[in-house]
């Protein structure tokens, strides 16, 4: 029988647990969620000596088994539930050699649950520099365990972990600390009431939600012979337990762990002095932020242009290669147009996740939290809100999840509620295309108007987040008693492998998540746009051709053809020296015919679209969006982008390309759209600004709403976000258009 050994990796945050996981599993890992909650679940398979395999579960970082957060309760729930399919055959506790004392705390707790436990002491490469010496064999004896001395940075010791896991049956399960001494009489009564249960396990069940809201408590009911204690009493006992455990750990380390004090200190202190300095600290933070934004706009434009071209080429290729028909149209016009809209901003998302991963891995993020905490507090936020607000520029979904380490519920809730205002990368394609259309290309003191507009939109996003936080802080009456604490890990050069994993994983899940929605919407849109039931739709060819014969092309097309011909004439005259009047006339005539034919086709396609299903739907909502300066096509795009903002560009691309044979950029097509009322270009300064502001404020992202629901455990908050933000966006966009038009 070849049953996999279940292994759980447990350890304090910042001990390199994830590095160990990566090195044990290599690329054979999968990231998902625990059912019902958004705690990330990472698992993988590891090959062991003698052909055995291990299923490795990377549990969230935890300082102890006394739960004070959702992440930690995942660990405790698993360790207390023998029937869980992931219940570990062996626990591997990862520790950092520099913080061994503190890291051993959770180790002793797990050991006392009588689970076979291996101790991994990581970062052994730092020992000589820090003047640390260890007596491993004595330590193994004192802790009743086996130890692997590991350096994930150097890649040493991993083999030893594998061997120890394979040999897990030889591990001692003798506990280290006898917790019952903190209240002998209490534990004796507990033993009598539940004679078949493990005492320490019972103790953890009893205390598990003393510090935290209940999740799914396995309750220990009061009985006549046994009454649980009050919360204050339990807390006092937990304090006693903590002291007891440290007494044990100190005793063990006294004989086995030596530090040469003179070798310590140094680097961290010097760097901290600069990075948390009251002037330089903020300056450095600002420079880092600016670098990130620069990277996103400047550096990522090259891969983005490349992707754009590839998709246009692919669409052409399909149309040219596959036999013409409904299926080919569906792929070229529906699916590819939609997918292109999301794939194009993989570079930007990847850059953002890259920077955030670098800041987290290096230990810098904690310093930002430290610098910003007091400044954020008047707005009802915490220093830890800075991380979600910055991650929000990538995507609100991981940002909302990143609020989980904010201890104070009110601060956390406010952070969750305001984060969607931050300009996420999904707004970027919308912003970029509209800015390109309506903002002139000029420069002021070396800065382009277009870049300035974009910066302004980011500032508006942050401003809206901070402003609404301030209001929420006044309005929300939530009493929350909790305390703020952030660990300041030592500085480390980020492990490129870890960073790469993070970037790939996060980008992948983002693209797949959004991609599914976009794909579905594109197909539906394509169908609705290329089908219709009215006679107008069916006879579009005839109706328009007849109209053009009697009335000619629309005014706009007539003028634009005239303009283009004039340009062409000048061009011909400039480029050819000896001009033959007859040739000139010929080529002009030729050109006019092509242009005329193109315009005719466009008008037919437009007429068809107007009379398709989607056209009717759009017309129905037009009265609502007309005061904002939009036509029904933008209305449809705005409507579909309530699923996800980035759908906007994809929707317009699909709507415009339906029935349109010409390969043209989406920007070009948008520029030639005409407002049905004013007969002027549809995208002008007024309607453009109105659209930009609408997207800046509206809550258009189903996935975010779903995450907020899960994180707040109620529909109340996401619904409030949806309604309040969208109504606000509508009003602002309305005012902007009416003032500017």
């Amino acid at each position: 029988m070849s049953k996999n050994i279940n292994v759980a990796l447990i350890g304090n945050p910042n001990t390199g647990k994830t590095s160990v996981f990566n090195q044990l599993t290599g690329l054979k890992q999968k990231v998902g969620n625990y059912p019902g909650i958004t705690v990330e679940k990472k698992e993988g398979i590891c090959k062991l000596p003698r052909g055995v395999k291990a299923h490795i579960l990377d549990l969230p970082g935890t300082y102890s088994l006394n739960t004070t957060s959702l992440d930690e309760s995942v660990v405790v729930e698993l360790l207390l539930n023998k029937n869980d399919k992931d219940f570990p055959d062996v626990a591997v506790v990862i520790s950092d050699v520099e913080n061994l004392k503190r890291n051993l705390f959770v180790f002793t707790q797990i050991k006392d649950l009588k689970i076979p436990t291996i101790l991994v002491i990581n970062m052994s490469d730092r020992m000589p520099k820090k003047g640390i010496t260890l007596d491993i064999s004595l330590l193994e004896e004192k802790l009743n365990t086996k130890i692997a001395l590991v350096s994930t940075r150097k890649g040493t010791g991993i083999e030893r972990i594998r061997e120890l896991i394979a040999d897990y049956k030889n591990l001692s399960v003798r506990p280290n600390v006898d917790t019952t001494v903190i209240a002998p009489e209490y534990f004796e009564r507990l033993r009598q009431t539940f004679p078949n249960e493990d005492l320490y396990k019972l103790w953890l069940v009893i205390t598990q939600d003393v510090n935290f809201m209940p999740i799914e408590k396995k309750e220990v009911k009061d009985t006549s012979s046994f009454a649980t204690k009050t919360k204050a009493e339990l807390k006092r006992l937990q304090q006693k337990e903590t002291i007891l455990r440290y007494q044990f750990i100190n005793g063990v380390l006294k004989e086995t762990y030596k530090v040469d004090r003179n070798a310590a200190k140094g680097f961290r202190a010097t760097v901290d002095k600069v990075l948390t300095h009251k002037v330089f600290g903020y300056l450095i933070f600002l420079v880092i932020l600016l670098t990130i934004f620069q990277a996103i706009y400047d550096w990522s434009s090259y891969p983005m242009d490349f992707i754009d071209e590839q998709f246009a080429a692919a669409s052409n290729w399909i149309k040219a290669t596959l036999p013409p028909g409904v299926f080919t149209n569906l792929i070229a016009e529906g699916i590819l147009a939609g997918i292109g809209g999301i794939v194009i901003f993989i570079p930007q998302i990847a850059f953002l996740f890259l920077f955030i991963a670098l800041l987290e891995e290096s230990g810098y993020m904690s310093r930002v939290v430290f610098l910003m905490d007091r400044i954020m507090r008047p707005f009802g936020l915490s220093g830890k809100s800075v991380v979600p607000l910055i991650s929000g520029t990538a995507c609100a979904i991981p940002a909302v999840m990143a609020t989980r380490n904010i201890e104070n519920w009110k601060e956390r809730l406010i952070t969750i509620l305001v984060t969607p205002f931050v300009t996420c990368s999904a707004r970027l394609p919308v912003y970029l295309i509209i800015i390109a259309l309506v903002i002139p290309e000029g420069r002021i003191i070396g800065l382009s108007y277009q870049a300035l507009t974009l910066t302004l939109l980011y500032l508006i996003g942050f401003g809206a987040a901070i402003g609404s936080a301030m209001i929420l802080n006044k309005v929300l009456k939530i009493k929350s008693r909790s305390f703020f604490m952030v660990e300041m890990p030592s500085y480390k050069f980020p492990l490129l492998k870890n960073v790469a994993y993070t970037v790939v994983e996060k980008t992948k899940s983002f693209v797949y998540g959004a991609g599914k929605i976009i794909l579905a919407i594109s197909i539906v849109l394509w169908f609705l746009g290329s089908n219709g039931y009215s006679s107008n739709f069916k006879n579009a060819d005839k109706i328009i051709s007849e109209r053009i014969e009697t009335e000619g092309l629309t005014g706009y097309n007539t003028t634009s053809i005239k303009n283009e011909l004039n340009e062409y004439e000048t061009y011909l005259k400039d480029s050819l020296d000896q001009l033959n009047t007859a040739t000139l006339k010929d080529s002009l005539k030729q050109r006019e015919l092509t242009l005329f034919e193109k315009a005719r086709k466009q008008e037919i396609a437009g007429f068809k679209l107007e009379n398709s299903y989607i056209g009717y739907l759009g017309k129905a909502i037009e009265p609502a969006v007309a005061p904002l300066g939009y036509d029904w096509k933008i209305g449809i795009a705005v409507l579909t982008s309530f699923a996800a903002r980035e759908v906007f560009v994809g929707t317009l691309a699909t709507i415009y390309s339906v029935g349109n044979d010409e390969e043209d950029t989406i920007k070009h097509r948008m520029a030639s759209e005409i407002n049905p009322v004013s007969k002027k270009p549809l995208f002008n300064l007024a309607s453009g600004i109105s659209l930009l502001l609408f997207y800046a404020f509206a809550m258009q992202c189903m996935s975010t709403l779903a995450i907020v629901k899960r994180e707040t455990n109620s529909w109340r908050w996401p619904m409030a976000q949806l309604v309040i933000m969208s109504v606000f966006a509508y009003i602002v966009a309305l005012i902007a258009y009416q003032v500017l038009k």
């Binding site: 004070t68 510090n211 807390k235 002095k273 904690s366 300041m488």
Partner: protein, 81 residues
Amino acid sequence: MVTTVAHLKRGERGIIKEFTKGMLPIKLLELGCLPGNELELIQIAPLKDPLYINVNGSHIAIRRSVALQIELDLIEDKATL
């Protein structure tokens, strides 16, 4: 001299006294903020809050309100550092 963490100057150290005022959060205790352990104030953020401390080898930042609850015996000599 008895003082609290909130009253320390940068670089000053002290030994944590028995807890008398109420309960400290359990998280702090787990990180080694226990009576008898040494605590050093490393950095104070602008606006005097939060405080960056090293206690028992744990480098953490806490808010002033919590720091006020941790009583210390100040270590007078400042030779080390």
